[in-house]
């Protein structure tokens, strides 16, 4: 006697069984037993106790969320700084004829900073899983970059010549950005913090 296949039993369970399957089921205690066992198995699966994670992942998620917001704020701050620097460059650097070593150095640091921002944005760190250690390092670096941005904003608000302090701050920013890229892209566990 031919019995129902598992496909047929599953179809019968879903009320999609063939006419032959339904008729056979009525006449065959073996297949009725199989169908009952299928129901039992699924009931047991549904009754399995829920499993909780061994570790709390929220701190990592929170750091990523806050880091992402800081990054967003930083990006807008950097754009503001770039615009301010452009205006200041037109107004202040022109008298130096663009030959100042500081002016060149400043321009180079700004380009490096923008390039690293772009690299980080392309990598899209928010969509990746990181360790708690890496998330903590990234959050720390982002805080320090935000502090540098604050100082840069203050300096940019005061029209002045190509200040060595301004150049140093932009170099610091590049250095911190490079470390941030290292943490995200190369998963560096140590960046000198």
């Amino acid at each position: 006697m031919m019995h129902c296949t598992m496909e047929e039993l599953l179809a019968l369970r879903a009320n999609e069984g063939s006419v032959w399957g339904r008729q056979h089921l009525d006449a065959c205690p073996v297949c009725r037993g199989e169908l009952e066992a299928l129901y039992q198995r699924v009931a047991q699966l549904k009754a399995l106790p829920p499993i909780s994670p061994a570790r709390d992942r929220w701190p990592v998620i929170r750091d990523r969320v806050q880091g992402s917001r800081a990054r967003g704020r930083r990006m807008w701050a950097a754009r503001g700084l770039a615009a301010a620097a452009l205006i200041a460059g037109v107004a202040v650097l022109r008298p130096f004829g663009g030959t100042s070593a500081y002016a060149n150095e400043l321009e180079r640091a700004k380009q490096q900073s923008a390039s690293l921002e772009a690299e980080l944005q392309q990598y899209d760190p928010d969509s990746r899983v990181v360790s708690g250690r890496a998330a903590s390092l990234a959050a720390d670096l982002e805080d320090r970059i935000a502090t540098v941005d604050g100082w840069l904003a203050q300096l940019n608000s005061v029209p002045a010549g190509p200040d060595p302090q301004l150049v140093k701050l932009w170099r610091d920013r590049v250095n911190l950005m490079q470390q941030l890229v290292d943490v995200h892209v190369t998963n560096a566990a140590y960046v000198g913090l």
Partner: protein, 179 residues
């Protein structure tokens, strides 16, 4: 696993505005269901934890897009299931999903009957079969929905379910791993 978890609209509204405390409350509410779903579909707890993290990063990013149609758990569960399936696909690319009852750890000698419990039987299925069983029989997804999430056909989902149940029956009835 039945979820009857009600989330206040106010909490969702606060989460949408980016309130970190509200986001944490959502995480605490759905941490176990999401992890449980991932762990039932995947083989390793570490992978399930990664899916948990990826799911909530996605929830935080996309909560503003949640329109309140249907239970929030349904929306989060869909994200979690997709993340878990992505991980299975990624691992399949590496190993071609050959991990099956023939290769389980601690396998019995050929021909020796072994009777095992349901959780161990599920663990012996291939990742794809186990995911289909869990999504269809426990979470209640249709074959059409599973096929869409997996990027496969409805027939594929149905055949995986039948194959999985045939094997589960064998393990549970003590037919052993030998065929």
């Amino acid at each position: 696993m039945t979820i009857s978890l009600a989330v206040p609209d106010l909490l969702i509204a606060r989460a949408k505005s980016g309130d970190v405390e509200a986001l944490e409350a959502l995480y605490r509410a759905f941490e176990t269901p999401v992890y449980n779903l991932a762990q039932r579909m995947l083989r390793h707890p570490e992978d399930a934890e990664d899916v948990l993290q990826e799911t909530f990063l996605e929830v935080v990013r996309s909560i503003k897009a949640y329109r309140g149609e249907g239970h929030l758990w349904g929306w989060i569960r869909r994200i979690a299931a997709s993340k878990a399936l992505m991980r299975i696909r990624r691992d399949q690319v590496r190993s071609e999903d050959v991990f099956d009852e023939e290769l389980i750890e601690g396998a019995q000698p050929v021909g020796v009957p072994v009777r095992i419990d349901l959780e161990r039987a599920m663990a012996r299925l291939s990742d794809t079969s186990r995911a289909v069983v869990w999504l269809h029989d426990v979470e209640g997804y249709t074959h059409e929905e599973i096929a869409e999430m997996m990027g496969k056909t409805v027939s594929f989902s149905k055949s995986q379910l039948a194959r999985a149940h045939t094997r589960l029956r064998g393990y549970l009835e003590g037919e052993g791993i030998a065929r």
